[in-house]
């Protein structure tokens, strides 16, 4: 089993991503070309990274939540709330050129996102509501909160400092990519260089046994919900800064579902336990590439969702080991589902 490339957990997600990218070549031969304009890099690949940044962020947070056996449906709403909060603070400011104003607005959004994460975490750990229901509350209520903040309007801001977060460039690359890289790095370091990852996997795999082994399961779970809220908050900032406005209704709509999908494509099981941050990143990139592809090949808008659904279905089937096996060993009459389960982990 060691050394076999196709058994690496990233193999199939990367194959899918590669296929999607190559597919684009048929429609746009210069898909891979990257040009330098005004000192910045431009190209479809850069776009995918740039526009995919919020989704990757949300998915990273979601990965850790799912690893504990939970789920966070409220991330889309937190994205909206965070953006609304930042835009509101900026629009109320007197000195639009002040860097302090933007920092204050960003700080307020992040604090609010953390509070929302705490809210989810407390509902799950203290009141012991099942995660899907606990976070559903904020998913629904969050849209209301976001609209409350924006008074039901779309708040538009024009502040070059704020725009930098989602639309600015650093070292010829979109700044949002650096934010994602930083969060990913921090998340990887925290989970793999400290024992946090082990604790998360342990709690997600068997929370009862983890408690008996002396783990503070509740603290671990609370932490991941807070982290997830934080990630969604940062994603909200990027999104709203990119368009210089906050839309309580539509910002981050269906992000929770895309994020869950990205996590699953990346190889993390919804049952909790082992998680794969890099897998999630590839998963999110697949989803973003798919969206880009659909626009690029000119699928009529009314059926884009159907096309997306079919591709996602195909991706999931390709990823499923048992499906691949059935496909490849059809001539073999017997199959042993239980055994595959065993040998896969052996």
């Amino acid at each position: 089993m060691r050394g076999k490339l196709y058994q690496h957990y990233l193999f199939w997600p990367l194959v899918v991503l590669g296929t999607l990218l190559l597919f684009n070549l048929i429609y746009s031969p210069d898909f891979f070309s990257i040009v330098v304009r005004q000192g910045n890099l431009y190209g479809s690949l850069i776009d995918i990274l740039n526009f995919g940044a919020p989704l990757i962020l949300v998915s990273i947070g979601m990965t850790l939540v799912i690893a504990t056996g939970g789920i966070d449906l409220s991330v889309g709403s937190i994205v909206a709330i965070s953006g609304a909060m930042a835009c509101l603070s900026i629009s109320k400011g007197t000195d639009q050129n002040s860097l302090l104003l933007v920092l204050g607005a960003v700080g307020a959004s992040i604090v609010l996102s953390i509070i929302l994460g705490v809210w989810n975490g407390v509902l799950v750990t203290v009141t012991r509501i099942q995660p899907i229901i606990a976070t559903l509350i904020l998913m629904v209520a969050g849209r209301g909160i976001a609209q409350l903040i924006t008074s039901g309007q779309i708040i538009t801001v024009s502040n070059s400092n704020y725009e930098y977060i989602g639309a600015g460039s650093l070292a010829a690359l979109p700044f949002s990519i650096f934010i994602v890289a930083a969060v990913l790095l921090i998340a990887s370091l925290l989970t793999r260089r400290t024992a946090l990852g082990l604790f998360i996997e342990s709690v997600g795999s068997n929370s009862n046994a983890s408690r008996l082994a002396g783990l503070r399961s509740k603290t671990v779970i609370l932490t991941v919900y807070i982290f997830c809220g934080l990630c969604a908050g940062i994603a909200g900032l990027i999104l709203s800064s990119n368009v210089s406005s906050a839309d309580g209704n539509n910002a981050g709509l269906w992000y929770e579902l895309d994020a869950i999908l990205a996590v699953v494509i990346g190889g993390t099981s919804l049952n909790g336990g082992r998680f794969y941050l890099m897998g999630t990143v590839v998963g999110a990139l697949i989803i973003q590439t798919l969206t880009t592809t659909i626009y690029m090949i000119g699928v009529p808008p009314e059926i884009t969702l159907v096309v997306k659904a079919f591709v996602v279905l195909a991706v999931c089937l390709i990823q499923s080991e048992s499906f691949r096996k059935t496909l490849m060993t059809r001539w073999k009459k017997r199959n042993y589902p239980a055994e595959q389960e065993v040998t896969r982990h052996a």
Partner: protein
């Protein structure tokens, strides 16, 4: 000459890197109880899984009633008349008893389930074949593990089995329940059913079985008539070496008795409603205290209170050294208490993690998330304990869920020994473990006590409790009824107290 109802020849099964079975023959005659014996990892479970279609067969053939069959799944095994009741009950706890028995085969009328008929049939089945009268409309989890086991057997029987496989059916039953099960087995046997019986209890093997097949390291050691194979021979065949370990034990125990020190933990009038009536218990340093009692007598409940898993309603628990009490497992561990639960699967192992990760988990939890053990250190620890406890396969990167029950137990033991506790609570540490490993664990307990560790030893096997304990507390009906000091421990005393004489 009888014709075997089931004949397996030359069965070979390979897993990546391991040959789990090689060229094993096995046969089963109608109307007999056939015991399958072997140490942990000898291939018993694999053989059963091959027979029930969970695993495929790499080489060899299976004949049922002289017909060659290929069993490719649990469903086909059932169709061929092979039913299995596993060690851990494989039913749905939140469905009713009747639903569990008839799941997938509900009596239908115009596509609608006939609930009345189903409940009536279930009730009748349990009453007639198992002498069990219970409310079949209650959810399964309302009943004890023992009853659940019987329900699992009832389900197997109702699928008109020719061969019934009982994999460690008695490991979680108390003495009375075992006898109830045995009388049912005898009844079924007289009705011509062939029963394959897997157990670690030698007495039970000799009480029940007509024939014994011994496996060792995935190979067939031999097939014997139970009447012609003395117990000691059987043990030798299973482990393939002289069994001096068990004989050394009493001596060790004598030596350790002198070295009992100060009080380690005191429970005074500690109790919890519905779990255990208020009791007093004092454990001293370097002392092994045994808890004897039937299943459900409150043994585990005491352990859970001492470890802070459950909160007591009344009474006081004081750890001598710190003078404080224990409110959670975390606090318990911080005060040097370790608890090896009897429910390995739900309260012990972390399925998705490797052996190494499972071993270091408790120590790492104590150190906190910010002070991780380096990978090198982890590997050292894992290797050390794998060697010390003889964990098989000796690969720290193996996922623990793929280990056999006994080896999982050893990993859990390693997890707790690593925390260097002052008090080690062992709840049924030897359940489902073969005799060699059992002796190793008993020996380990005694040597730990000698080094000054206190041990609370809970076991259904009285001989084991007697062998290792300096003092024995006896429980009956959730009450502590008696305590026997070192001079007074003997089987009869304990029996009397347990039974209420």
């Amino acid at each position: 000459m009888l014709v075997p109802i089931l004949e397996m020849t030359g069965i070979t099964k390979r897993f990546p890197g391991v040959k789990a079975l090689s060229n094993v023959d096995f046969r089963l005659f109608p109307g007999e109880v056939h015991a399958l014996m072997g140490e942990n990892g000898a291939g018993k479970s694999t053989l059963i899984k091959v027979l029930t279609g969970v695993y495929s067969i790499d080489e060899g053939s299976v004949m049922i009633e002289d017909q060659s069959v290929s069993i490719s799944g649990p469903l086909e095994a059932q169709k061929a008349g092979i039913s299995t009741v596993y060690q851990e009950v494989n039913l749905c706890p939140n469905l009713t008893v009747a639903e569990n028995i008839f799941i997938g085969r509900e009596p239908l009328k115009f596509g609608k389930i006939q609930w009345k008929k189903m409940n009536k049939d279930a009730d009748q089945l349990l009453r007639e074949r198992l002498n069990l009268s219970i409310d079949v409309t209650l959810p399964l989890h309302a009943y004890s593990v023992a009853i659940q086991q019987l329900i699992a057997i009832a389900r197997a029987l109702s699928i008109s089995a020719k061969v019934l496989i009982l994999d460690e059916p008695t490991s979680s039953l108390d003495q009375n329940e075992v006898q109830q099960l045995f009388s049912i087995m005898r009844k079924l046997k007289s009705e011509g059913l062939a029963i394959l019986f897997v157990t670690h209890f030698l007495d039970q093997v000799y009480e029940m079985s007509d024939r014994i097949t011994v496996l060792r390291n995935g190979e067939l050691e031999g097939e014997y008539l139970a009447a012609e194979l003395p117990k000691i021979e059987l043990v030798l065949k299973m482990i393939g070496k002289e069994l001096k370990l068990l004989e050394e034990l009493p001596k060790l125990s004598e030596e350790s008795k002198s070295s009992v020190g100060n009080t380690m933990i005191t429970a005074s009038e500690l109790g919890r409603k519905g779990a255990i009536k208020p009791f007093n218990l004092e454990i001293r340093k370097g002392e092994v205290v045994g808890l004897a009692g039937l299943l459900g007598s409150g043994r585990t409940e005491i352990a859970r209170l001492l470890f802070g898993v459950d909160r007591p309603d009344e009474g006081k628990l004081v750890v001598a050294e710190s003078g404080s009490t224990v409110k959670s497992p975390r606090q318990a561990i911080d005060q040097g208490i370790a608890f090896c639960s009897e429910n390995r699967k739900t309260e012990g192992i972390i399925d998705d993690l490797t052996v190494r990760e499972n071993i270091i988990l408790a120590l790492q939890a104590t150190r906190g998330w910010s002070r991780p053990l380096s990978r090198k250190k982890q590997d050292e620890i894992a290797d050390q304990y794998i060697k010390m406890l003889n964990i098989n396969p000796p690969n720290p990167e193996h996922l623990i869920k793929n280990l056999s029950g006994g080896n999982q137990q050893k990993v859990l033991l390693a997890r707790w020994l690593l925390t260097e506790p002052d008090l080690l609570i062992l709840d049924e540490p030897t359940r489902g473990i073969d005799i060699g490993a059992k002796a190793e664990i008993q020996k380990l307990v005694l040597s730990l006590a000698k080094q000054g560790m206190s041990v609370l030893f809970i076991s259904s096997e009285m001989e084991e409790v007697i062998r290792v304990s300096d003092r024995v507390a006896i429980l009956r009906d959730r009450t502590k009824v008696k305590e026997l000091g070192s001079g007074e421990i003997n089987q009869q005393q304990i029996m009397q107290a347990m039974a209420g004489g």
